[in-house]
């Protein structure tokens, strides 16, 4: 296997007494889409900023494309495309002026500059908007423009910080299709998100919780490896079922999805299914109970709950 595109060891960042990122190890293979999944304040942005050299790590090291992010941050900038969480192009310039500015700043050769801007305008479906000021674009258009700007200099690595937080579902689907195309062409993509469905699309991902990487792997292997089983309960009266199950102390968590409940129990419990059935029968609730494969949300709840239990004994 090739050397990883991004690797980090013991990456830590403190802001005063707050530890935003705590001892994170990363190994991201080239040409793959890697996700950071975590709630707000879990350290996703801080990690990404350390990887592109915008923030110095308090401890630990990170190498991107074999270059150290501390010492070689300037050389790295030609290799990295970075899309900030907040729209950071110039709102008072037009779409085309923004792209031209970026092409000049990256010193793309004069001959290629124009062709590249035209190519991106077409590729990202911004042709009709080229004369419009960036500040007046819709969320989806802004996002396409930002991605066009981030990929203009054909970077080997794309770091995307919550790129879809202000975008509707259709635009999100299109956006992800573009990401897969880029990955196919060999670009390594690191994308942070707090959407489960987006995380599920990644080749592999890390789940971050309050600065700590609590799990990583492919979405499938994460499901296989958690020490929880998921039992789905479909009841005519899900509210009563939920209240009844809440009495059971061995249950880790209950999530309601319409008429269904997803019940998480430790894997170590020998007869979890019977226990749930028994509980509902004794409360005289009609319900269909079956064990299912954990989805990402279950995994997320499982790993963050486990950590909470460890942190607060």
């Amino acid at each position: 296997m090739n050397a990883p595109a991004i690797s980090a060891h013991g990456l830590t960042r403190k802001f005063g007494s707050l530890v935003a990122v705590n001892n994170v190890d990363l190994e991201i293979p080239a040409g793959k889409i890697y996700g950071f999944l975590g709630p707000n304040g879990s350290g996703k942005s801080t990690t990404i900023r350390m990887l592109c050299g915008l923030l110095l790590p308090s401890a630990g090291t990170a190498t991107v494309m074999g270059m150290d992010t501390r010492q070689e941050s300037e050389a790295l900038k030609q290799q990295i495309g970075y899309m900030t969480q907040r729209f950071s192009l110039y709102e008072d310039l037009t779409v085309k002026e923004n792209l031209r500015f970026i092409s000049e700043v990256y010193a793309v050769s004069r001959a290629q500059r124009k062709a590249r801007v035209e190519e991106l305008l077409t590729q990202y479906n911004l042709r009709e908007k080229e004369r419009q000021r960036a500040g007046t674009l819709s969320g989806g258009q802004k996002q396409r423009l930002a991605l066009a700007a981030a990929t203009l200099h054909r970077p080997k690595i794309l770091l995307l910080d919550e790129p879809t937080s202000a975008v509707d579902p259709q635009n999100r689907r299109d956006f992800w299709e573009t990401l897969f195309e880029l990955a196919e062409q060999g670009t390594t993509i690191l994308v942070s998100t707090h959407y489960m469905d987006e995380a599920a699309r990644c080749h592999s991902l890390a789940i971050l919780d309050r600065g700590v990487k609590v799990a990583d792997g492919s979405p499938r292997s994460l499901g296989e490896n958690i020490d929880m089983r998921v039992i789905e309960v479909e009841a005519s009266d899900p509210n009563r079922a939920r209240l009844s199950l809440a009495q059971e102390t061995k249950i880790t968590s209950i999530t309601q999805l319409g008429v269904r409940l997803r019940v998480l129990l430790p894997k170590t419990l020998p007869d979890a299914l019977q226990m749930v059935q028994h509980n509902l029968q004794s409360a005289a609730i009609n319900a269909e109970v079956r064990e299912v494969f954990p989805d990402l949300e279950d995994i997320f709840v499982a790993v963050t709950q486990r950590r909470r239990a460890e942190v607060t004994p």
């Binding site: 915008l54 300037e74 030609q78 950071s88």
Partner: protein, 366 residues
Amino acid sequence: MNALIRIFAVLHKEFLQLSRDRLTFGMIVGIPLIQLMMFGYAINTDVRNLTAAYADETDSHLSRQFIADLTASQVISMQQRVNNADELMALLDAGQISIGVYVPNDFDRRVQQQDRSVAQLLVDGSDTIILGVAQQLTSVPVHFDSQVPPARQGAKIEVRNFYNPERRSAVNIVPGLVGVILTMTMVLFTAVAIVREKERGNMELLINTPVRTIELMLGKIIPYILIGLIQLVIILSLGWYFFEVPIRGSGLHVLFAALMFIATNLSLGLLISTTAGTQFQAMQLTFFFFLPSILLSGFMFPFDGMPQLAQNIAEILPLTHFNRLIRGIVLRGADISTLWLELAALGAFMVVALTLAVARFRKRLD
């Protein structure tokens, strides 16, 4: 080569943004216009028409002549006549008059004998300028027509007024105003131009590109050098048109001095921008610097009249040096080479400020 492309990229972007920012654009032209009119017409150390009242207890031909002479000087404007000194005091206390003229009932005899003061001026001395004006009034001659005018007392020193024979304040104010306006706008514009990018989040994108600190700063500064020159032309030409302020020195020397001063202020603006986090902070820091500049630089008050400490502080303000330069060239027609020390001082400021700014600016977020 790439460096040039990047500087040009920032420059081009800055011009595009400037052309769309109507408020800044308005300030570029509006500030010099308004300030020139305000300072040119309002600031007048050549005081006339102070409100006054008088109490004439003699009411003779001579005393009436005396009051008429005082009024004719145009320094004071007689508002009313009262009966005695107490009433004058009351008016003075109430702030209704600045000067009270008291003519005692033995005025004629005092004039005849010439051994004591003939009359008294009651002056609101809380404003020292008024006190100074009152001194002028004491030289109004008082004597009977039949009387032999008193011989001149001893030798007198003659005053010859160079460079401003009509004693017009505008002649001194307008060249000084060039420096004041350039300080205010240049420092503020650059400081805000960079801080605005921080505030709007553009900086996070910009520092992640290969653009170097010095390239970014040059690209940011150059447009404002042009703006500074436009302001210089506006002020000097309007000053010449409205206030007949002459430009006695070489235009090229004026241009060179102004360029040095503009560059110094822009470097200072950059330095401020590396410290301030928001546009509001940038504005506050600019004024923290602007206020001593306007007060201590010799623009408002004569430099030599200030206490030593204030003079020392003034020496570390670029505006002080520029005021000497611009007044020297514009009003005295001085050659810039005779003022090389002031130029060197400006150059030193610029180098220090720019070095600090580049050193402080980090292509990082922390």
